[in-house]
Subunit: 234 residues, 2 copies
DNA sequence: AATCATAATATGCCTAGACATATTCAGAAA
DNA sequence: TTTCTGAATATGTCTAGGCATATTATGATT
């Protein structure tokens, strides 16, 4: 284990075990360098890592101070449906239900964040796992940003995959919510009306330009999201 | 802007805009140091930041290689209910519905991950916003890990807050799912039976020891989780 | 007592070099 | 041809110094 990591762990222990409570000011880099017997830059690297983890706040002249624990913040992984199912040994298929090129109506414009009238590709499709419906996907693609999508049929290739491999994106936003399945959703997912579903909406940007909007709907017993967080870990 | 950050941004652009596609090998640190006119350590810092963001992979002798874009991975912030509502200018209150000290039954043991028979504190409470029910909380606290909770009434202080301020935790896991409200949930949240609800389950550890398990249930129109992600950003 | 300029201090960033180590590549041996 | 061995190479880490800059503490002035 490199020296800076040893120092990082040593300091982290003091914080996590409460020996240095929130608000406590750490010794200066010079002092730590002396006590650990290393160069100041090595201490700087260790303290920088603590700051990256939000365990401490560093300000010039003010020094390095232990933070209060964050309320909740976690790394969420939203997996690729296809890859996930294949990894679990379940067969996967994407089935296109609807494909339409149109000028954005008011709803499209709001969802995708483009002016009404912009050409969009609207896709509805079903992700199947082991033959059974697994998730329903409703997607809008901004044809101004991705003109080559106009020529693609998306008959059995998931548009998510297709986009991911072609279009670099720079920003994404997810919204996670619950909804009661209406008649149309229930029919397509082969579930009873009013069944609770988990929805994930995702908006994707490439440098200010909106690429796609997608809403994926999972029946409540088919999917849960898992997020794991280690306080102050790498 | 510091030099290493300029270099980071410059390299990031090349990757994000597709100029350097996945698999492309970056020039060596020595070459970059020469072309940017700086010390190798400064380049190392920039490349290290790119690696932290998972934009590149670095291996000795093999060099620094551009990664394929991640499928989806995002930073999820699960906010403190109380702080969130207060920030929105809505009055907040916690109301205890049930408080019981018992030896863990099979369900408790499974949820909290402790052996059956372990003393636990089981709490049910309601978060109210503007007088109206906002979320239902079901919580188990491991009294072996947090003995001081036995003396606390939790009549109007949210146990989440109480714990957060007292007990340092080192690891947490969230599970997000949807469910149909059953009769008991519907009554307490003053919603109709079968209304879709978003649930967040959270398990918290302190160095291997389980501290608490909590399930928070939000009616579908009361809450959505938002996660935002900038590809390769700080 | 209050305000303001100044000095002290801790971090932020940088350089130029060094040795360590993992990995690859090329050439030698089987 | 295959396998093995050693050299080359790129990163990983570290040192010992330096200047820059934000912030605080101090002391002087009003």
């Amino acid at each position: 284990m490199p020296r800076y990591r040893e120092i990082y762990e040593s300091l982290r222990q003091k914080i996590v075990l409460g020996q240095w409570p929130p608000g406590h000011r750490l010794p200066s880099e010079h002092e730590l360098a002396r006590s650990f017997g290393c160069a100041r830059m090595t201490i700087g690297k260790a303290l920088g890592a603590l700051a990256d983890q939000r365990l401490v706040t560093r300000r010039r002249r003010a020094g390095t101070v232990v933070n209060a624990p964050r309320p909740q913040e976690s790394v969420l992984e939203i997996h690729d449906i296809e890859a996930e199912l294949l990894a679990a040994g379940v067969s996967y298929a994407y089935q296109s239900l609807e494909r339409r090129v149109r000028r954005a109506n008011a709803a499209d414009a709001a969802a995708l964040g483009v002016p009404p009238g912009t050409p969009v590709l609207a896709l509805t499709g079903l992700h199947r796992a082991g033959g059974q419906p697994h998730a329903l996907e409703e997607r809008l693609i901004n044809l101004q940003a991705v003109p080559e999508a106009r020529a693609e049929r998306f008959a059995d290739i998931s548009p998510g995959r297709w986009l991911l491999q072609r279009i670099p994106w720079t920003e994404a936003e997810h919204q996670i919510a619950a909804l009661n399945a209406d008649a149309a959703i229930a029919r397509r997912l082969a579930i009873r009306r009013n069944t609770a579903c988990l929805t994930i909406e995702r908006n994707t940007w490439r440098d200010e330009q909106r690429i796609t909007h997608v809403r994926v709907i999972y029946p409540c017993d088919q999917h849960r999201l898992v997020a794991r967080f280690r306080y102050g870990a790498a």
